[in-house]
């Protein structure tokens, strides 16, 4: 188990403006939504998770796409092409 550098993490979280390039696929009562981080509304809601993931990747090629499980945990983090190492 790695020790979390809490003070440095707090400093970075505080400085993080929220204007990130991340796009999230999250559950909704009526399906799965694609939502840009920090936005107050989803960009689009799909009836299935598969469609939502496909949609997120197609209209956010320059963004990381983060796919969440129903409980909110991250199931997959797809890096944008320009961030892949």
């Amino acid at each position: 188990m790695r020790k979390i550098p809490v003070n440095e993490l707090k400093r970075r979280m505080k400085a993080d403006s929220g204007s990130s390039s991340r796009v999230h696929v999250v559950v909704r009562d009526d399906g799965w939504a694609v939502k840009r981080e920090g936005a107050s509304r989803a960009s689009k809601v799909f009836s299935t998770k598969t469609e939502a993931v496909r949609g997120a990747k197609s209209f956010s090629k320059d963004n990381d796409v983060i796919i969440h499980r129903k409980d909110g945990t991250i199931s997959k983090w797809a890096k944008a092409a320009n961030r892949r190492s």
Partner: protein
């Protein structure tokens, strides 16, 4: 130091299965500009845990009690209903500000309390189905209905429960991304093991 009017005592399980719900509840409370208070906020082995709980009950106007673990299982836990009883007792037999206390009772499955804690009938526990999103909704809606002072001043700004849960998921990703920018190789598992007081500090820094 948190004051009585803003403090929310959280009386809940601390096992691994519950962690995701606990963190969602903490995130909701901080988003609604209240102060989460838990027995785990100090780690003084010299102090009796129950004394700390009495102190938290006395200095928190609000409390959230999750009695999920009274369900029939291999190792049922009865600390939560005991502390709920102390909290309700403080409101009934206490004086002054203690009479203003308000509490939310949560359970995993609807009506599961009735077989083993029928004295609670009429108190309307709310179920969350072990789903963090539903726990966020229960807590957010309860705050909306009960924290009058804050609602009165800032009604239009209390976020919806789905927006709070979205923010919580984004917060998780942001935390992982920031950690990996400090030093690569951190995983969700490292974050999961973080002690509750540190988690609260980081939520406060992020919001």
């Amino acid at each position: 130091m948190a004051d009585f009017e803003n403090s929310v005592f959280i009386n809940c399980p601390f096992d691994e299965d519950y962690r995701r719900i606990l963190r969602a509840i903490i995130f909701t409370i901080v988003t609604c500009e209240l102060e989460p208070r838990l027995a785990s906020e100090t780690s003084d082995s010299g102090a009796a845990r129950i004394s700390k709980i009495y102190e938290l009950i006395e200095c928190s106007k609000y409390s959230i009690h999750d009695i999920s673990r009274i369900e029939k299982r291999k190792d049922p836990r009865f600390n939560m209903p005991f502390e709920l009883g102390v909290d309700i007792g403080s409101r009934i037999y206490g004086k002054g500000k203690l009479t203003e206390k308000k509490c939310l009772i949560l359970e995993a499955k609807q009506y599961s309390y009735q077989k083993v804690l029928s004295d609670l009938s009429g108190n309307d526990p709310y179920h969350h189905n072990n789903e963090p999103a539903l726990a966020v909704k229960r807590v957010r809606d309860w705050i909306y209905s009960n924290v009058k002072r804050k609602i009165k001043n800032d009604k239009e700004h209390l976020p919806t429960s789905s927006l709070i849960f979205d923010s919580y998921q984004e917060f998780d990703a942001k935390m992982l991304d920031n950690l990996n920018s400090i030093s690569s190789g951190f995983t969700q598992n490292d974050i999961d093991q973080m002690p509750v007081p540190e988690f609260i500090d980081i939520v406060k820094a992020a919001l």
